[in-house]
Symmetry: C2
Subunit: 336 residues, 2 copies
């Protein structure tokens, strides 16, 4: 392995001069600079980033933790984060929790041990080092932290989300406007913060319209296609069959639509469907799926820019950034 010392020797200069030609070439006299550059070329020298990081006390690496890497919603945000990180000069480590607290803590620990400078957290679980602080009555996170796509009250850290209550309300209002009277919902896990918000929006829209609510019209999945399928099966057996379904995720909506087709019912004639997230395949579903669009790219970009600000101790204009959602109209809610 060739080090800065080898280059210095070969070029007949000090290691300081080698370091300078690498970091601020304009600060070294052209003649020596060229000698150094030639030596680097000849010896195929690559400076050791670890040594540099130790000396500089920062490593321009962040870790993003997601519940599930292959989940298309999360992988979309991850992609966006990675792109901005690349542009800003950060590297990104990836950690998957699978909903397990110990895995989350394992990854969060990486910023304590300075493997990463900061943590961008997707999903609804908080690492212990953060909840410990909350329990102690403080609100400042103990590590550079940005929360994306989910909010946690009482924590003073940058946070980028959409207004899930309003988005769910919008979705259900649209079902109502399309002439539906018996509107059910397939939600995420009951304890999930997103579920709480979206359920609230669902209930608000029904109440405002004076429509019937039934507890057996509120069913829960885990955001997977399969769970949407299973949940729809339960709805089809409800005391009264719904004529519209608001699904708190496009994947669950895909599964639900499959169940409806299997039952020999036609979408949207028998049952209209609204999803959430606006995933790629939604517009190629049968029929194309009306959905609430979350601005995935902007969520990721905003989260990464917030992280950059935190790490450079720049002020953040808006600690809680609320990004706009929108309703994407497709055939699954066409008026009959």
């Amino acid at each position: 392995m060739v080090t800065i010392r080898d280059i210095a020797k070969r070029a007949g200069v000090s290691v300081a001069t080698v370091s300078r030609t690498l970091r601020e070439p304009e600060a070294v006299r052209p003649l020596r600079r060229e000698r150094v550059q030639q030596a680097i070329e000849e010896m195929n020298y690559a400076p050791d980033a670890i040594a540099r990081q130790l000396r500089r006390r920062s490593n321009e690496t962040i870790i993003v933790i997601v519940p599930e890497i292959a989940n298309p919603f999360f992988s979309g945000i991850l992609q966006s984060i990675e792109n901005v990180a690349h542009d800003l000069g950060y590297r990104v480590l990836i950690g998957e929790t699978q909903g397990k607290q110990e895995r989350l803590d394992y990854y969060a620990d990486m910023v304590q041990t300075r493997v990463a400078d900061g943590l961008i957290l997707l999903g609804s679980l908080l690492p212990r080092i953060v909840t410990d602080v909350l329990k102690a009555g403080r609100t400042e996170p103990p590590i550079p932290l940005v929360l994306a796509c989910e909010r946690f009250d009482g924590l003073d850290c940058p946070n980028v989300v959409i207004d899930n209550v309003a988005a769910a309300t919008l979705a259900v209002e649209h079902l109502i406007e399309s002439g539906r009277k018996r509107i059910a919902t397939i939600m995420g896990p009951p304890e999930n913060p997103l579920t709480v918000d979206r359920l609230q929006g669902y209930r608000a829209a029904l109440a405002a319209a004076g429509l019937e609510t039934r507890e057996d019209w509120v069913v829960h999945g885990d955001f997977s296609i399969e769970s949407g399928h299973a949940a729809m099966l339960r709805l089809l057996e409800a005391g009264q069959m719904p004529d519209g379904v608001f699904c708190a995720g496009d994947e669950m909506a895909i599964g639900a639509m499959h169940a409806i087709r299997e039952a020999g019912l036609v979408i949207p004639r028998a049952i209209a469907m609204v999803g959430f997230d606006d995933l790629r395949f939604g517009s190629f579903a049968a029929p194309p799926l009306t959905t609430i669009r979350q601005p995935t790219d902007e969520l990721g970009e905003c989260a990464m820019r917030m992280m950059d600000a935190v790490l450079h101790k720049r002020p953040i204009d808006q600690l809680k950034q609320i990004l706009p959602h929108s309703l994407i109209l497709r055939e699954s809610t066409a008026r009959m």
Copy 2:
């Protein structure tokens, strides 16, 4: 920031003893060990991983480079790699090339600068540091490298793939057995190595059955849903309409099926469809999609285990690992 020195001072021992209680606690006398552990607790000490890495000259980090993070096939493999990496004690950095050579080189550089110990490469592009070596007539990669899901002849590095020629042959044979006579294909980009293999399989199966081949039955997409849709539109306008289509990716198949439905044709009655990869949503498509299953989990696991072997200089039994594929039968190719 609290360092090992602070702990040593507080516990009244040397830094060596602190380091030992951290790395090999059984080697230090219980009394002092406890004193150290207490000091660590009290001062909330987390050892600096960067310093350790510099000293140990290894950082248990790999980088996996993918063409596109949000592509479900790649994100599935990434997930699997990350899981095995976690179990083996590695961290994983992620890099997205977007098909751009400069981005690939940027990320590959991270193992040169020792940010990562090794590189797992998904996709069909090779970094310059590798092609340079090939050009120089050597076959040994200049960095710890594992190739997943695509092969490159002439490079002596661990490689895990399926037999794409055989898999494509199997897919087309199945279309033939289901009674199809006019079989078209939607392939990936022409220059893609996967395309070369799968096209070869397609042609072999048709030739063996003595079926008609037409150049306008071979169309190309870029593996995206949208490109599958566009490609199918071209096939529907071909001189003769096919009655079976082999799609070199499930996403393209989803797009293609959408085009077929839009044309008012029924799958599989008018046109049967076979996909490739066996992505989650395939079994929830309308109709459920027959496909070639690639063992995503095993691909990722095998790649990561190979990387581990490379980094520990353990011998690798099989440099080119060929994993089994299979045909998943669903309604999109039901016999009429």
